[in-house]
Each structure stands twice: as C-alpha cells, then as structure tokens.
Symmetry: D2
C-alpha cells in the first residue's frame, strides 16, 4: 500500500501529505470521499463524510462501508509502523451497534510491530451532531511484502 | 437487512427477485454495481464487475471492496437462513492473495443456523479471463434483531 | 458461565470471591491452575503460573494455553458486564510474539455492552522476571443465553 | 511446531507417525490426552477423549479446550502444507452450539498455501454416542518462521 521509504526526519506535515497522496491514489477511496485527518508512524485518523450514496434506505451506513474504513485504517497504521511496502493479511471486525450520523471516523494504531508484520487495532466511530459513538471494533495483521515482485493490495 | 417474511412456497425465481430488490435498495451496492446471481435459503452468489473506480492504481481491487463483498454475501446467506430481520454481528476475513481480474464473485453459505444467529462462511474469487482464483476467505455471525425497534444494518 | 444475579451492592471483595468460586468450579481451569487476580463488572485479570506441563519442549507456552486464557478472560469480562448467564459466541486472537516466562496474565474488558451481547478485548502478557511482554491480542463476543434451558459453555 | 524436512517419498504411515511424535512432544497435549488420527500434507484429524477434568460442572467441554483443539489442528494443517517450521499467527473461532459428548474431533485443512503462510480452516465436532455434531468453526493463518533464530510456538 505504502512505499515507506520516508526517513525519520520527515516533518509531521510532510508525513500527512504523503499519506494523503497515497489515499488520493486509491480510486475507490476517492470515489467515496475518504479523508486522512492525521497520520504518524503506527497511527492514523481516517474519516468519511456520509453522503446519501453511502447509506442504506434507513439512513444507516452500509456495513461494507464500515469494514472499508477499518480495513484501510488498519493498513495505514501497519504500513506506517513497518515503513516498507505492505499487504493487509487479515482482519476481524465487530459491529457493536447500528448508528445514524453524518461522518465515520476510524482510528487505528499498531499495537505490536515485528520484523515481518504489525498487529493493529481500530475503532470506528459514528459522528452525529459532533458526538462520537463507537460503531465497530477491528483487529488485524498487516504484513510486509515477501518480495518486491508481489504487488501490494 | 432482509425482512424474511417469505413463505416456503416462494419459487426460486421469486426468491432471487426478492433478493435483487433488497440489493437494489442498498444505495452503496447500487453505486458500485453489485449483482445477485443466485440466492436460496442460506446460500448466495454475489458478483461485482470491476470498473476502474474499484481498482487501485496497480489494477488490483481495493481490499475494502473485497471486504464489502464478503460482508454483504455473509449477510445474505445468514438472513435467508434465519428468515427474520438480521444484523451482521461480526466477521473475519483472510486475504489469501492479490489478484488481477475483471470480476469478484463471493459465495457464502450458512454453516449453522440457530434460534438467534447463523454462522456463515464465504469464499471470494477473482475471475480473470473466465478463470476463478481464490482471493479471500471469510467467516462471520449474522444475528437476529433483538427487537423490532432496532434497525437492521 | 456466570449466573450474574449479584446486586450492585456487592463489595469488591465479595465480587472477586464470587468469580473465584466460578473459576474453581471449572475442572479444566483447576487442572491447569488458573488464578483470578482481579474482577469487577466488565473487567478481569486472570493469571496462570506456567508449570512444565503447560510448556512446549522449547520452553514456550503452548498456543492452546494462550487461547484458553484469552477465551476465559473474555468470558469473565463479558459475563460480569452483562450480569446474566452468558456463552462465548466467538473470538479472534493474534499471537504477537513467542515469549519465555513464568506466568501468563490475561486482562480483558468489555468495550461495548448491549442488551444481548458484549464485545470485549483482551491482552495476554508473558511475565518473565517480573517484566510483562505482550504475547497475544484478542477480541470477541459474549452473548446472553437465549433462554434458560440452554446451558452455558 | 514442525520441522517439515520430510521428503515427498515418506509413506502415509511414516507421516502420521512423525505427526504423533510432534504431538507427543507437546507436554500440554500429552497432559490432556490429544490423539492424532490422520495426517497428510495440509490435512489433519485431531481427537480428544473428554475426561471429567476437561468438562465443566454441567458436563460441557470448556471453551478453552475447544479453542486448543482448533489452534492445534490449524497448526498441523498449515505446518504440513508449508513443510517448514511454522508459528500460528492468528485464528478466529465461532462456537456454534454447546454440546455434550465423549470426544472432540477437530478436522483442519490448508485452503491456500503461499510462500510465507497458509490460510487454514477447521471444524470441531462433538461426538456423542458415535454421532458427530458441529461444535465450532475456525479459520486462521499459519506463518513460516521469518528466520531460524525465532522459535516456533
């Protein structure tokens, strides 16, 4: 997902800008309008304004949108922790409650970073009138690419 | 997700048509162009033609698209097995390999159906030139709504 | 797992004593020597001294022992959060690193408690010479028993 | 878990005998009495007679015993598929129903084997009077050891 060749001396602003350019290069993320609000090594704040197209008829966000947010936030957290090209190996998500609102916020972090993978956790919140409610909880593995010929996901 | 009030005497064609109307009522599924190819109680074949918008720059499908397919197929399998309004409680997905292709196919089935939940499994394949390759494997829980006031996801 | 009929007025000591009697009533937990070090509604500290029988030949704790610790800690956290008889519905565990040591410590908490289930997380640490290292990370669902006739696990 | 240096020419009997010696070398597996009934590359049948010590007061097998069976069967399936020393990276388990019986049977297989990991699935059955009932469903990742200095779990 992320080339990761940035050096330690990159400023916080440059690091976030780098992440935003990665996100912008994902056509699906651009299609639905995901926004990177914060990014540092092993930590990310990914947000998504909920337009009508992203909701179900009853006004709730589609579960697939919530899982996209978890998947992508976990990958950013793991990719910036490992600092090499990565793939999302697997993740698990619990939808703790349905919730109405205007924005999804996914905050993920790398809990353990080893030589070949990072184990990351993510909380997804629904924001309604400025108030955040936990919408889902996820946990997953981000792995380094075994070799340069294998493409990132 | 699904109202489930269908009787046992519904024809296979009517059952599939009912499922397609559920899928069409999901704005996000309509946005990306998901298609229901087969549906019977506890079993589903959900497909997605991969347009440029759904791919990464390198031509691979975004992981979030693959997880949407698993999430939605698991929910259709569990909802038609339980035959009452349901929510997706949780799922886990392993991305077994990246793959290029023109279509994703998610086949899910209910492996165990109890009084309050169904445990379902799902295989997601990438179709390239008519050949299917396993892209991801998922397993999850679809739960009946505890009460009528709680809205489906 | 837990009858949960305790009232809010139970003292912290009585609550822990109640939990210890639940643990003592599990023959497998008694066999391997699990110990309850802290228990409050939605929160638990479960520990296990590592005898030779619980280790592999190379001195590491068997993965099955680590998953038992996560399973049981998640169930105590969810059961004391829900305060009714519960079953463990599902969980997921990531083994973040192998580790040598003399004791496993599993700390679990209920992150979200609804009417019919609690979503809980758990960290399992290996203690070596008094120093804790993260060994595994787990997340799972503890569900209320659908009816009184169904037995807890 | 498994050294994996066996050649393709090993007989089925020798392969099973090799697996039984691996199982016998796990003190915890010996303590509870696990038995290897079948083993071939990427496929395993692991069984456990349920003595009183492995049951709860109500006669059900402890969830931690069921998760041990899934964990170990997944690892045997992945280890024999990859044929190099492995660690269990992560798994997820759904307990589909409680069940009384005299024996647990865990059957696992490698669904996808790559260069650095195998994704495996496992069904755990309770046997009661010779009749098998599905008790749990699991899915997980078995990874090759990144380097020889890292010890298997």
């Amino acid at each position: 997902m992320m080339n990761g060749s940035q050096s330690e001396s990159v400023s916080a602003e440059a690091f976030l800008a780098m992440g935003r350019s990665v996100l912008a290069s994902q056509p699906f993320s651009a299609l639905i309008g995901a926004e990177l609000h914060a990014l540092s090594p092993g930590s990310v704040d990914l947000q998504l304004p909920l337009t009508a197209q992203l909701k179900q008829q009853d006004g709730f966000a589609h579960g697939g949108i919530v899982s996209y947010m978890a998947d992508n936030a976990l990958t950013f957290a793991g990719g910036t922790a490992l600092r090499v090209p990565v793939v999302t190996s697997e993740f698990k998500i619990n939808y703790v409650r349905p919730a109405l609102g205007e924005r999804l916020v996914a905050r993920a972090k790398a809990v353990h970073t080893g030589s070949s993978q990072a184990v990351c956790t993510c909380e997804v919140f629904m924001v309604n009138g400025g108030v955040e409610k936990l919408r889902a909880l996820a946990q997953g593995t981000i792995a380094t690419l075994p070799d340069a010929s294998r493409k990132p996901v």
